[in-house]
Every structure is written in C-alpha cells, then in structure tokens.
C-alpha cells in the first residue's frame, strides 16, 4: 500500500524533503512505517527518539495501524505559541 509522509521543521530540513509517497507492506503500523522512512532517510535518526506521530491529523502511537492512502506526519517536539 501507499501512504503520504509529511516532515516538518528540523526533520524536514535534515531530510531535505517535506512530503513524499511511501510504499509499505501490509499490515503496517506507525512503527514499521517509521522504520521504512528511516531506511530511506537515515540522516533523521537522531530526531526519532523525540518524535510524535499523526495519522490523518490525529496523534497516534507506534503500535497503531496504518491504513492505505493515509497521511503520516512525523511531529518533532512542538514549540508554538
């Protein structure tokens, strides 16, 4: 299946991209998708321990399932306000 991946802030800068399509074997979880992203962009490894994840604009956890055509966002620690 294919999903859309969004990167932001420090992670987007390090990876050199903000948005790409990722192919995943089914079934997939947030964790397995994260591992596939890391394989493709190993430079972001240092950021991973601090990341949160959002699937279709909802915060999710690593063991949550990823569905086809969904959008997975890697969320660095937020600093708005």
């Amino acid at each position: 299946m294919e999903i859309t991946v969004l990167l932001f802030a420090s992670v987007a800068e390090r990876a050199g991209t903000r948005r790409f399509t990722l192919s995943l074997d089914e079934p997939a979880t947030v964790g397995s998708a994260r591992d596939a992203i890391l394989a493709q962009y190993p430079s972001i490894a240092p950021f991973v321990p601090n990341l949160m994840y959002a699937l279709d604009e909802e915060y999710v956890r690593e063991h949550d399932a990823v569905t086809p055509h969904s959008t997975l966002a890697l969320i660095p620690p937020v600093s708005g306000g």
């Binding site: 932001f8 802030a9 420090s10 240092p46 950021f47 660095p76 937020v78 708005g80 306000g81």
Partner: protein
Amino acid sequence: MLIRVTQEILDPAEAIASVASPRAGAINVFLGVVRDNNLGRSVNFLDYEAYPSMAEKVMREIAEESVSRFGFEDVAVLHRTGRLEIGETSLLIAVSSGHRAASFDGGHWLVNEIKKRVPVWKKEVWADGESWVEGPEALGMRGPSQS
C-alpha cells in the same frame, strides 16, 4: 468559534469581536509576542512553521475542551506563521466568560495546552546562527537540531 492559522498579522480587535456575547462579563485576551531574547541569547527574528490543517484541528479541540471545562461563552485561537519580527504577535487567544476568574484561569490553561499540543514550530534566528526550538518552552527538551 474563530480558529485560524495564517501568515497575516493577527488583529486583537477581530478576536475580541468574535467572542462578544451579552452573557459575558469578562473577556480575556492573550498575545504571545516575539521577544528580543530567549535563554539569555539575543534574538533577531523568529520563523514559524505549522502543519496548518492539523494545527487548526487541534486548536479547535483545545478550544472546545476549554468551553466545557471553564464554561466560556466563546473562544478564539489564532496562530501566525512565517517570519515574525520582535514585537509581533505569534499567538492570539480571546475568551469570553460570565465572570473574570474563569477567563483568567481558562485563558492560561488554553495557552498552556496550545503550546503542548498544536503542531507548530519556531526557529530562532540570531546574528550568528539559527536553531529550531523544539519542545515545551525550549527548556531541556531541545532535539538534536540544537548545535
């Protein structure tokens, strides 16, 4: 309920007008403003990035939660993105409430939750470099981008 992520200048008068209610005896307005220093370092300007659609969704969830927690009549939450100069407003909230205590307590709660949960990031730009500020208040929780 006025909820917006925008690159445009934030206007307190618009936020205040949006929460007006004949049942409100108190309106509290908070402006998060770009300060000329952070953690002892001089700041030239800030650059805010958001995941805009999700940021608005989370801002709305927090605003709705504040209405049920604090009994607000109405709430407005606006966040600006892009380059912001010293003195410009990055975050604007307004709440209307029957009485003042809830407007202060709930306004404070709202700002705290927004800073914890809304997907927005700021980059500090100094005379001699720049850094993404990542984590609450940028105290002890910076990511490895800090160099």
